[in-house]
Symmetry: C2
Subunit: 219 residues, 2 copies
């Protein structure tokens, strides 16, 4: 990784046009060739950047970075304050826990948590407009499409409504109803869900993990 501290101006032309007036900034060039220009504030997002794959053409006072899509980043260097390089090697990568995929796993194994008597037919059931998180059968014999989110917002309700509409046209599945399951469901999403005939269920993630670890300890 190369780190350059420099007084620079920057121009980007691509999906939009953008310009950075002259100032001191950090230029970060990673091993894969991607370039990021950071100021001394503002979270982790750089002011400007160019992702790999790209090509860097470097002269004393100017870097021109282009990519195959025709985007172009031009960095004009007025003064270089520091220029260092460190070989970091491959990173073993981030280990995550607690995202939607895990919530889906937990619920797929325990669909009765969502609704009494619910039985799983299939996870990630494919439709021609995308995958339904859980396809289930209710105690009364209806098909139930379950959409799982960490945070339940309007988009998720729309997504589920599209699936239910599509699935309900399949005579092998009809009648189909929808259940929207999330750790937290926003009021707007609840209102929209109700008007679409979709049931909302708020799920206790920590409680589910508790149950999971108890089950694991039994075996």
């Amino acid at each position: 990784m190369r780190l350059v501290i420099a007084e620079c101006t920057v121009d980007y032309e691509g999906r939009l046009t953008a310009h950075l007036p002259r100032a001191q900034r950090l230029l970060m060039v990673k091993a894969d060739g991607c370039v990021a220009i950071h100021s001394d504030g503002g979270a982790y997002k750089p002011l400007n950047w160019m992702n790999a794959p790209n090509s860097v053409f470097e002269t004393e006072s100017k870097w021109v970075v282009v990519n195959p899509k025709g985007e172009k980043l031009t960095i004009t260097l007025h003064e270089v304050i520091s220029d260092t390089e460190h070989a970091l090697g491959e990173d073993p990568g981030l280990i995550k826990d607690g995202v939607e995929a895990h919530l889906q796993e937990l619920l797929a194994a325990r669909p009765w948590v969502i609704e009494d008597g619910l039985e799983l037919i299939r996870r990630e059931y494919q439709t021609d407009i995308g995958p339904v998180d859980l396809l289930c059968k209710s105690e009364a014999g209806e098909t139930v499409a379950v959409e799982i989110k960490r945070r339940g917002e309007i988009d998720g309700v729309e997504q589920l409504a599209r699936y239910v509409e599509r699935l309900d046209n399949d005579p092998r599945l009809a009648p189909v109803r929808g259940v929207f399951a999330a750790q937290l469901i926003k009021p707007q999403a609840k209102t929209l869900a109700e008007s679409r005939g979709i049931i909302c269920v708020e799920v206790d993630y920590d409680g589910l993990r508790e149950i999971e670890s108890r089950e694991l300890r039994l075996f």
Copy 2:
């Protein structure tokens, strides 16, 4: 801005739980206190981070970063290879062009580009589920809700459909129809729009800018 190259392990507990095994990485600390941990690849996104506002508690071999929401980032330093600091000063900031706001401005001033005889009533017309980009009146006297996007995708059509449904319930506005205007509209979005009775219009952004600059030169 402080830049540290170090062999480290990292743990994050907050909105999720995440762990980074021991490896060499860049630790970036900005003037506002935010911390980002970068590997030597993977675009501009750090492996792990903590945004301002936060507090950093630093000892020889460990940094603990906590924020008011109760999130916690723990960095264990096994070996520090480099530790430098540079004062960059305030950044004048990015100047952008070509985003949705500008497209909306251009169309608000020339609604006839969207549809012959269209007249603007109001920009950012507020409804209880959000703002409509342009509210217009057609030559035939209907109300027309216009949703403007740079790239027209399914989400935008759903959003517009919600607005039209809501506005059509207002007797002062009814009948209301929708027009979906974008530089480029994806086939799926067109199909969905058609099934919702929404008209699609593809807008020539560069052409509009041409017209704008010609108009400016006249005055």
